[in-house]
Amino acid sequence: MLRIKSDPNVCIGCGLCRIWCKVEHSPSKNISKAFKPAAPPTLSCVELEERGCESFASMCRHCEEPLCVYGCITGAMRKDPQTGLVTVDRSKCVGCWTCILMCPNGAIVRDERNGYTALKCDMCLERGFPSCVEHCPNDALVIEEVEDV
């Protein structure tokens, strides 16, 4: 199974991961349109964490024991048995935000642009390859192969 690995040792704090995540989660998926003043607010599933000289990107780890899935009151949050990916069925989510309260990584955000649904990293399933990883200029985000127990 594939996961995104974040390496604080070479994170340069540029924030491009967030920018491209926002683009991917915008209606147009186009960087010049996504940030137009008239465009809907942008949302990123990636956080850039910074303190002094330290920085790293954090996002969903698609936990083996995903507390967000366990806490989900609707069954919208699922862990795919094949890919191990934790994804939200946005048609089922009612925006109770229990997942936000459960996630120890703080990796789920409120998407209030079109209804009220949770938004989280799905490793760019639709796009095919995580945009943050592709656009990280220093390989601080890379794809790693892992095994779920």
Partner: protein, 522 residues
């Protein structure tokens, strides 16, 4: 946007400013012009986050990213990372009135010195438009009468050996009986030149070391010592003993494949070095064996070397210390009497002479020295090689040429002029990301190369840097093989000193004589 609206790190780290920090008002024109296409700018603040010179900033009232062109060093970091190509950094079109004698650079430097009263510092190598003799030399190729060789189909040897060679060899019963001085085998005639940990970051030296391992060549510690973590690369390390003697101890000497005595550096012949205390981090201080935060000053001369005899004492002291297992190299800057000096160095017992031309790089040098002192490597190399041949002692040393080797073509020409191998420093750093902005001395290298600031140093990912270095040297090695094959030569050692493979173009007779090269068409 959730990102902090100011360059928070700089805000945190900015020391309390004192009245004396406010300099004389500057009259200098900005060197670069930052042009922002506001139609494209998405206010993502990547430029703000990436510029260590604080050129870009967020203007809250107007909700716009703005910039101060006067602080821009033209490193292009922001332009490269801008996700919407909204930034163009180019030389400031506004210039002082054109003058054939007083260039804008002269006017700016004079203003700078009028403001500061100090030496104008710079980094990287001589950037003046002086003749580059590599570009005036042409390489031969075989046609009809001597067949060229296809390196993809036939063996092609780039392997060479560094170290003194005996005057002759005796073989008995198929076995070599001559006792050989220590030899270091390298798989390509390209070595990474001396760049100290201190001048460059940990990550860059690590990448150089790992690339050297992967390529079967050597990296050079410079005069900054060998970090404890890097002893694992000992089989690919040249360690320097320089005037400051930083980081020199028995384990250090014995860790090396070659010990190099640094007499001079092409970018700043005749002067020493000065690593500012700010760059002497805890880790640098351990490696250099000096207190953290203190300036690391390398004296201009080695204070125990005032003659060839003194040099010989140091060469043999090192040989004793290393039990004669490793070749000892002496590195000198290319200066007017390089040939005579080289002759003396051979007689002092050195196994390797490294000659560094005046376009060689530096982490910091007075600009007036960098731009005015020394010789092009091409002349120094040719004259040293000729002198040693004339004296019949060329076999007693390996010659390594450095200082301005920019391409595989330059490598081939250097070897044809008499070098056994070349040092590349600037080319390697460019492969890692350097854009030759020449602000190495500031310690604020935006590309994370010439800095000890942990925030900036992370910008070089040693894995990426290693791959890029390996790719560069592999690419050059392929090209060298192609050129060798074209000349009908199947071994790099057969090219060494083969000046008949070169022709000069646009050179005066005197220049051709020094280079020992016939004019093109001859």
């Amino acid at each position: 946007m959730n990102a902090p609206r100011n360059n928070s790190r700089n805000a945190i780290q900015a020391p309390q400013r004192k009245a004396s920090d406010f300099r004389i008002r500057s009259n200098r024109l900005a060197e670069f012009s930052v042009e922002r296409d506001y139609d494209k700018c998405i206010k993502c603040e990547v430029c703000i986050r990436q510029c260590s010179f604080d050129v870009h900033y967020y203007e809250e009232e107007e909700d716009l990213i703005k910039h101060r062109s006067e602080d821009c060093v033209g490193c292009q970091r922001c332009a490269v990372l801008c996700p919407t190509d909204a930034l163009t950094i180019r030389p400031n079109p506004a210039q002082y009135r054109a003058h054939g004698s007083w260039s804008s650079e002269h006017v700016k430097d004079i203003n700078l010195q009028a403001e500061t009263g100090g030496v104008v510092l710079t980094g990287a190598g001589n950037d003046k438009p002086m003749p580059v003799y590599w570009d005036k030399l042409l390489i031969n190729a075989s046609q009809v009468t001597n067949p060229s060789i296809d390196p993809l189909r036939e063996p092609m040897e780039l392997r060479t050996f560094l170290g003194a060679k005996p005057d002759g060899v005796e073989i008995e019963n198929g076995k070599l009986v001559t006792s050989m001085p220590p030899q270091v085998q390298i798989e390509t005639p390209i070595l990474f030149s001396a760049i100290s940990y201190g001048a460059i970051s940990y990550n860059v030296q690590k990448a150089l070391a790992e690339a050297a391992v992967e390529l079967g060549t050597l990296f050079n510690t410079g005069e900054g010592g060998l970090h404890p973590d890097f002893y694992k690369y000992r089989d690919h390390a040249i360690v320097q003993v320089a005037s400051g003697r930083f980081g020199v101890h028995p384990d250090y000497l014995n860790a090396a494949r070659i010990v190099e005595i640094k007499i001079g550096q092409g970018a700043k012949p005749g002067i020493g070095g000065h690593l500012a205390g700010e760059k002497v981090s805890e880790s640098v201080s351990i490696t250099r064996m000096i207190p953290a935060g203190t300036d690391a000053i390398s004296p201009a001369p080695q204070h125990d070397i005032y003659s060839i005899e003194d040099l010989r004492m140091l060469v043999y002291a090192i040989k004793e210390a290393t039990n004669y297992r490793v070749p000892v190299s002496v590195k000198i800057a290319a200066v007017h009497n390089a040939a005579a000096i080289a002759s003396g160095i051979v007689r002092a017992g050195a196994d390797v002479i490294a000659i560094d031309g005046f376009r060689g790089g530096t982490g910091a040098a007075p600009k007036v020295i960098r731009d005015n002192v020394g010789l092009p490597i091409e002349f120094a190399l040719a004259s040293v090689d000729k002198r040693l041949r004339d004296e019949g002692i060329r076999n007693r040393v390996t010659l390594i040429a450095g200082g301005g080797i920019r391409s595989a073509g330059d490598v081939v020409k250097a070897i044809a002029l008499g070098a056994d191998a070349v040092y590349i420093g600037t080319a390697a750093l460019i492969a890692v990301g350097c854009t030759l902005c020449q602000k190495c001395y500031s310690g604020k290298c935006n590309w994370g190369i010439a800095t000890q600031d942990p925030y900036l140093a992370k910008r070089v990912n040693p894995d990426i840097a290693r791959k890029r270095l390996v790719n560069l040297v592999k690419g050059w090695s392929h090209e060298i093989k192609e050129m060798l094959g074209g000349m009908g030569i199947n071994s790099i050692e057969s090219l060494r000193g083969s000046r008949s493979q070169l022709r000069g173009i646009g050179l005066t007779t005197e220049e051709l004589n020094v280079l020992g090269v016939a004019p093109a068409g001859n």
